[in-house]
């Protein structure tokens, strides 16, 4: 099977407009006869379900949480990008497109990214219309700030909880359609199998997590909006329930998995404090607007950070990357932190942390401005801190509170200690320009697909992609498929394909419950996470990856012999839910290592130690690896398919932020 990206012909700037004007439509009467299944209710899923229902389609939406409002998009902190150019600083659709392609280290698909940049401006309009309370200036206009990898201010935000406000906006749109009877919502339901008839996706098997019952659901199309798979590392900033299961079942049913090894390690997270730790907490990238990152110039310096004088501090990002300073992209900031800690300059008890320090900007930037507003000439340090603290509090108050709650240290007084942690996965199901996987009728939106962020995602772009896909892309592109489906009558769930899919799902559950071993599911997940973090994490090499593959295979075999799942099938049993998810992670982890091993280059978040410049920067190999690695599952092995990436509108160069 060849991969057809179906990118429309024509100039990049007019492709999408041209496509929208010529794509086949489904008339309103026919829309009411067409049923769409949406799995996941984060930004992509909630916005897609609401919008498709508004258009007249019959929608069924599923989420594993107790309410669609709890999907993990809720936890996004810093903001959402849009090329509005409200700050008059030279922003444009092209610049957002360019920044995103460059930020992704030239491994994203041009046409998709340009469309994303085009849709970005409408997202902000849509959210404001829904009542999303973005931050505003005194004059009543919207406020902006900067994020990594850009030199303009294009990030819209709502304090440190932008994801929450955007998701609640999409959720309110979804609930409105539930109330109108256009969406049927299934909370506490998990998709555990795809149903294919004549090669097309025609439905899903979902498990009711309260009763344990399996349910069959038909749809003319199935949309997977199920987020990323960062939890394969066990410790990540993802929610505890975030998982790959729906995407993995789609993969096993024939959908190719694109660039699985592309993982984003976020530079500013609260460091690991103990072996019991269940998850890691992000400190928003927006903090790098005002926080300066440093380590002591002396190795193993045990002095209190406030006792280390200015000239004995190494602001290593400002030193290495003067043009972007503390706002270099995430992959670069993360590797630089690792490099300093590995070299013995780390701080804190574990020595695996660096400082994120607000004092300078608190005093010199905000303190001085406020003092000047109040006509205080020659303010003393105490005044500067007092005045500056108020501004910092207004901008980042909830993040500072969260940090204090977790670490018991006050970041207004001492610098934050931070270290990189797994945050996002750029890889995902392979999709074409329509966001359809290679299985007809099955789509992947948002973080669940691979298409927009290449090998590294820029900050504040995940929210943008989720909402662009849901509000503006899929409502148009799905017509390309469904216009040919208007003669397909709803298929009975007694069809043999539904029966077979349900049996396969049921057999897997029975198998897990009949193992009766001695080890908890959690212990397997932890062990897998450690293998992945050590050998397929921030730095990878051939030897480590080969070892990891063997270790994961052995761990998987042990899981099926020794796992202990308490309780029974037909009841509320979170341990059983978790077992199914960990079983899928145990397969995915292997594929990620295979993909990382195949890609003999360093790009973005994928850093192969064998391929680096003398200065320790990632060294791409455009001649041999400028492609999307799309993996086809063949039972216990995988076959590689390549989609060549063509850059016709951007000059490819060595990525530089110096």
């Amino acid at each position: 099977m060849t991969l057809e990206s179906k990118i429309p012909a024509g100039d990049i700037a007019t492709k999408w407009t041209q496509y929208k004007s010529t794509v086949p439509l489904v008339n309103p009467a026919n829309k009411r006869q067409l049923e769409i299944i949406v799995v996941g209710t984060g930004l992509a899923g909630a916005s897609a379900a609401a919008t498709l229902a508004e258009m007249g389609y019959k929608v069924k939406a599923f989420c594993f949480q107790d309410s669609p409002r709890r999907a993990h998009s809720i936890a996004a902190q810093g903001g959402i990008n849009a090329a509005k150019n409200y700050q008059n600083d030279g922003d444009s659709v092209y610049r957002l497109f360019y920044d995103t392609i460059k930020g992704g280290d030239y491994r994203a698909r041009e046409a998709n990214v340009h469309r994303l940049a085009e849709c970005s401006t409408s997202i902000i309009d849509q959210c404001v219309a829904q009542g999303v309370p973005f931050a505003r200036e005194y004059g009543g206009t919207l406020s902006n700030r900067s994020f990594g990898g850009t030199q303009v201010q294009r990030t819209f935000y709502a304090a440190g909880q932008t994801g929450q406000q955007l998701l609640l906006g999409a959720y309110s749109g979804l609930e409105r359609q539930v109330g109108l009877g256009n969406v049927k919502m299934y909370a506490r339901h998990e998709m555990i199998e795809v149903v294919k008839i004549d090669g097309k996706a025609r439905g899903i098997i979902a498990r009711n997590l309260v009763t344990g019952e399996l349910e069959r659901h038909f749809g003319h199309a199935v949309l997977l909006c199920t987020g990323g798979y960062g939890n394969v590392f066990y410790l990540s900033t993802n929610a505890m329930g975030s998982n790959v299961t729906a995407a993995w079942k789609a993969h096993k049913a024939g959908a190719y998995f694109g660039n699985p090894c592309f993982t984003q390690i976020h530079p500013t997270c609260i460091p690991v404090s103990g072996h019991y730790q269940s998850k890691l907490t992000l400190m928003s990238e927006s903090l790098r607007n005002d926080g300066r990152i440093w380590v002591p110039k002396k190795q193993n310096d045990d002095r209190h950070p406030n006792d280390i004088p200015e000239d004995e501090r190494d602001y290593y990002l400002e030193r290495r990357y003067p043009a972007f300073g503390n706002l270099v992209p995430r992959d670069i900031a993360s590797r630089a932190a690792k490099e300093r800690c590995d070299a013995g300059y780390g701080v804190g008890q574990s020595k695996m942390a660096v400082y994120l320090d607000f004092k300078y900007n608190m005093m010199q930037k905000y303190g001085r401005t406020e003092a000047s507003k109040l006509n205080i000439a020659n303010p003393d340090d105490e005044t500067l801190i007092r005045l500056g603290k108020e501004v910092i509090k207004e901008k980042y108050g909830n993040l500072f509170d969260m940090y204090k709650q977790i670490t018991d240290e006050d970041p207004y007084e001492v610098p934050m200690r931070i270290y990189p942690a797994v945050h996002y996965t750029m890889g995902g199901l392979w999709v074409d320009y329509d966001l359809m996987t290679n299985v007809p009728g099955m789509y992947a939106l948002g973080e669940a697909n691979f298409s927009d962020h290449g090998a590294n995602r820029l900050g504040a772009s995940a929210l943008m992609q989720g909402l662009a896909d849901g509000y503006f892309v899929i409502p148009i592109t799905i017509g390309n498929y469904l216009s040919k489906e208007i003669h397909t009558k709803p298929i009975s769930t007694d069809h043999e394909a539904f029966v077979a899919a349900e049996k396969a799902a049921n057999d897997r559950i029975q198998q897990l419950m009949s193992i009766h071993g001695t080890r908890s599911v959690e212990s397997y997940h932890r062990e897998l996470g450690l293998i992945m973090w050590n050998k397929c994490g921030m730095a990878r090499n051939e030897k480590g990856l080969k070892e990891a593959i063997a270790e994961i295979q052995a761990l998987r075999a042990d899981f099926y012999k020794n796992v202990r799942i308490p309780g029974s099938i037909n009841e509320f049993n979170p341990e059983l839910d978790k077992a199914g998810r960990v079983a899928d992670f145990l397969e995915l982890g292997e594929l990620m290592c295979i993909d990382a091993l195949n890609r003999n280059e360093s790009c973005g978040g994928h850093f192969r130690e064998e391929y680096q410049t003398e200065e320790g920067e990632a060294m791409r190999d455009d001649e041999n690896y400028m492609y999307v690695a799309a993996w086809e599952n063949k039972g216990d092995t995988w076959e590689l398919h390549k989609e060549e990436l063509k850059y016709e509108n951007i000059k490819i160069q060595q990525r530089s932020y110096k």
Partner: protein, 251 residues
């Protein structure tokens, strides 16, 4: 590594919605740096190792924003600290040797599913009744074409930070959901975009709230005191104002 604390737990166990529940006692060693839920992870590992059923509890983001975690700890929703969810409560807030009682939210509107897990779908139905602005994707005008004064935007934002956890209902002797409903009504009625529907919205949401079996407000203020996002009691006053205004206009 800080010294481990020895804790005695009294935890509510209930097989399912229809069965009667009871307290079970457990002993757990915890580090002061653990979160309350990580302490429960340790308990559950112990239970699984000894062949017993772990305690079912809701949790997801573990950073205080998804609103999924929901434990009544020593009689207080989300425990002894103000302004934090259960997942952000750390064991350093307790002492070595403490006995801690843990129960689910208790309200007719939130039936127990199992142990500490309850069904909060009533909140979704209240939102579906009217907690939205009726606008379809594609209809919007440019975001800066309607100016919103900063103080109004800030007020709307403060109300909008509600995480829908239900602690307000759990804290209230009447199991009233008026802090939750008031927060959404306040957010949307303050913003110019929410004005066209403000009267129909508040009536529809209050009707649904009543239909779900939540009680009325008697101004005790326990909801605001226990709210992990510190939604102020003034949103209830605003809810009442909006409701009376709508009723006087015959809605």
């Amino acid at each position: 590594m800080s010294k481990l604390m020895k804790l005695n737990l009294k935890v509510w166990r209930q097989k399912n919605t229809n069965s009667a529940g009871n307290f079970e006692e457990y002993k757990v060693d915890a580090s002061p740096d653990m979160s309350f839920l990580e302490m429960f992870d340790v308990l559950n590992e112990q239970l699984i190792e000894t062949g017993k059923e772990p305690v079912a509890f809701d949790h997801d983001c573990r950073e205080g924003i998804c609103g999924m975690c929901s434990m009544v700890i020593d009689g207080r929703p989300h425990g002894p600290k103000q302004g934090v969810t259960t997942c952000q409560l750390h064991m350093r807030s307790f002492n070595d040797g403490d006995t801690i009682t843990v129960e689910p939210w208790r309200a007719d509107g939130f039936p127990v599913i199992k142990d500490l897990t309850v069904n909060r779908s009533a909140f979704d139905r209240i939102i579906a009744a009217g907690g939205f602005i009726s606008t379809n994707a594609g209809n919007a005008v440019d975001a800066n074409s309607v100016l919103i004064p900063k103080d109004v935007a800030d007020e709307a934002f403060e109300a909008a930070t509600c995480i829908g956890c239900g602690a307000c209902v759990s804290a209230c002797k009447n199991a009233s959901a008026m802090l939750f409903v008031g927060a959404k009504v306040t957010q949307l009625s303050k913003l110019p975009q929410g004005k066209p529907e403000r009267e129909t919205r508040v009536v529809a949401m209050v009707n649904q709230m009543d239909a779900e079996g939540f009680g009325a407000c008697t101004n005790t203020g326990a909801c605001a005191a226990e709210c992990p996002k510190q939604i102020p009691l003034s949103v209830i006053a605003n809810l009442n104002r909006e409701y009376i205004g709508a009723k006087m206009n015959g809605k």
